[in-house]
Symmetry: C3
Subunit: 128 residues, 3 copies
Amino acid sequence: MDILFLSGQTGRDPFEDAPCRTPEEERAGKGKVMSHDVKQQTRQCLEYIKNTLEMMGASLKHIVMFRYYLPRREDVFDMRDEMYRFFEEFEPDLRKHPRNATLLRGVGIDLKEMLVEIEAWAVVPRKK
Amino acid sequence: MDILFLSGQTGRDPFEDAPCRTPEEERAGKGKVMSHDVKQQTRQCLEYIKNTLEMMGASLKHIVMFRYYLPRREDVFDMRDEMYRFFEEFEPDLRKHPRNATLLRGVGIDLKEMLVEIEAWAVVPRKK
Amino acid sequence: MDILFLSGQTGRDPFEDAPCRTPEEERAGKGKVMSHDVKQQTRQCLEYIKNTLEMMGASLKHIVMFRYYLPRREDVFDMRDEMYRFFEEFEPDLRKHPRNATLLRGVGIDLKEMLVEIEAWAVVPRKK
């Protein structure tokens, strides 16, 4: 059995985002999100999670727990809608058997433009 | 060895609480806590944790780590008092050998009425 | 394989800090940090992590994930600088192969004087 701890995924722009090394770089916008819409950022988080799992020989259905961080309290509804849509498309088991989750609302995450961060943990049966 | 990741437990009302699907449902009070007192909510969290562990064939003594989330900084003292009382009643080992814990104060959790959220991780020796 | 869950380490003063049992004790300053500088607190967190791992027969290189909590958003840059310095000194592998990490900025942690909290998880191959 392998346990995969996936660190928090965000709506980083996969092409334009760059790590900020100074407050000036951050203020100048070196860190970039791919959209200012919480649904699109949610989908981006889930795609990063899906890709990471697949790169490691696992898949979405191995997820056992989520943790959600939302700077704006009211975004929980749009986030949830988009998650359901994504699950139905890629792994209906996550919709049928909802995984444990911790939800934090009104917390700060990395860039100010980030509206959602999602952590996932997966347990993968070891191949014999 | 099995590792149990228990997601954040809160003071949800076990009979009256219902998931909120829209901001309107939330504002109308569909999500309900069982009390507005932090001690009672703490006890409710711990009872959910105890029940979940027992349902899975484990018990409170298998807990290896806690994480506490408190929206109001000053509630830490009442939360701690109630935890000690609960541990002494149900699992004195948690009082005698305090488990590792991370404490967050002044963070937002799910419903505005929730005063405390507790996550627990447990490690259970595998039965032969 | 053993998994070590290290709870959040902070800049507590290793000699002067005492647990606060009441709001009055906290206001009176019973809980103490070893410095009001985020770099020094970061180094203290990492030293606690290093010592804990070593006490358990593990070392910094076994770390697989970090989680950082920063009450003040802008402290991320100083924290990162100090982490890099510490890693280069004690475990260059952490610098060469950055571990997964979740970063929370603008969240509350235990004492108001604490500027940073760091959690680490380590995976240690089991000795035969």
